[in-house]
Symmetry: C2
Subunit: 199 residues, 2 copies
């Protein structure tokens, strides 16, 4: 195998959803049709690199120079319900489900004793500040249904206790060891409407 | 969805092996971790764009400045057997199978009346020239087992008739409507050792 093709296969293999075989097929198609595929992809990557950033309020993806983002500034959305997600990308499937009309807060990860990811690496201080401002009635936890998600939910429960806010989580309905990013819109919609009180 | 992220999803969706959903997951991972994923991928793509070209002899992928390629110049390989493939990428799975030790000739496609892809767009003249030079005893056709592959095989049969060369094709064993790029090494190895005379 030619070395630059091998490097390209390795770079593609690191993306979620691409096995070694699909990465190989993709790499060969890219070098076979550079104008049609490779140049287009490089341009899209460079544009995304230059233009996409995270909203300073919710942590979700937005265009550079547009922070707070469209979801944070949309006057039609309910300031009273704050949906906490792990990753900025988790916001998209929830929006697609059509089951939620409040605001978002992306933590940028979850608590993980195994990976030594502690509370300081997450946007937990910013979450407490938003809740402390007083307009939030309910915090809806849309976290993974695994041990790390549960640990994160427990931590947030303690963190927000002083504010007397209603704390809910997505209804079970999500399969175990999965997360928001893997769920279809209907499953997510049902999980949002069936959400239950924590503790 | 943020427009540059949408563009990136579209560019990734055009690659073989990536559905809309995997393209979306890959795009979100890329913008979430630009240093670890996006920059690495852009560098690999740009390196491949700059360094990879097609060998002037066999048509396979090689590094720029290295044409004829390593397979064409390897003295341990048999000049007497020439394996004809559709795409440069078809050479990799055949090499991986360990069942072939001759030279290669990539056509850069196949005949397709439906897509109006005629003989002039393929490296058929170059194939005839290589055979005319006289050292080739056998031409092994490793083409798709579909109508277009059959049409291409028939055309090459007529093209090479004047040279009295032995014309073989891969043994059946490949599934119908498939091609070299989809086969596992063992299937390919059996197909190479069981190859049969054309016509």
């Amino acid at each position: 195998m030619v070395a630059p093709v091998d490097n390209l296969i390795r770079a593609l293999s690191r993306l979620p959803g691409l096995g070694r075989r699909s990465a190989e097929r993709a790499a060969l198609a890219l070098v076979r049709r550079p104008e049609a595929l490779l140049d287009v992809l490089v341009a899209a990557l460079q544009e995304a690199r230059a233009e996409v950033c995270c909203c300073q309020v919710c942590g979700g993806f937005t265009s550079r120079g547009r922070t707070p983002c469209a979801l944070c500034t949309d006057a039609a959305r309910d300031d009273g319900v704050l949906c906490v997600v792990e990753e900025p990308s988790d916001i998209f499937p929830i929006e697609r489900s059509g089951g939620f009309n409040g605001r978002y807060h992306a933590l940028m990860g979850k608590l993980s004793p195994a990976r030594q990811a502690g509370p300081d690496e997450l946007r937990l201080g910013a979450l407490a500040e938003r809740v402390a401002r007083g307009s939030v009635r309910e915090v809806l936890l849309a976290l993974s249904t695994d041990m790390e998600g549960d640990a994160t939910a427990g931590y947030i429960g303690e963190l927000l206790k002083p504010y007397g806010v209603r704390l809910t989580r997505l209804a079970f309905g999500l399969p175990a060891d999965s997360g928001v990013g893997y769920s279809d819109p209907l499953t997510l919609k049902r999980a949002i409407s069936g959400r239950v009180l924590c503790g």
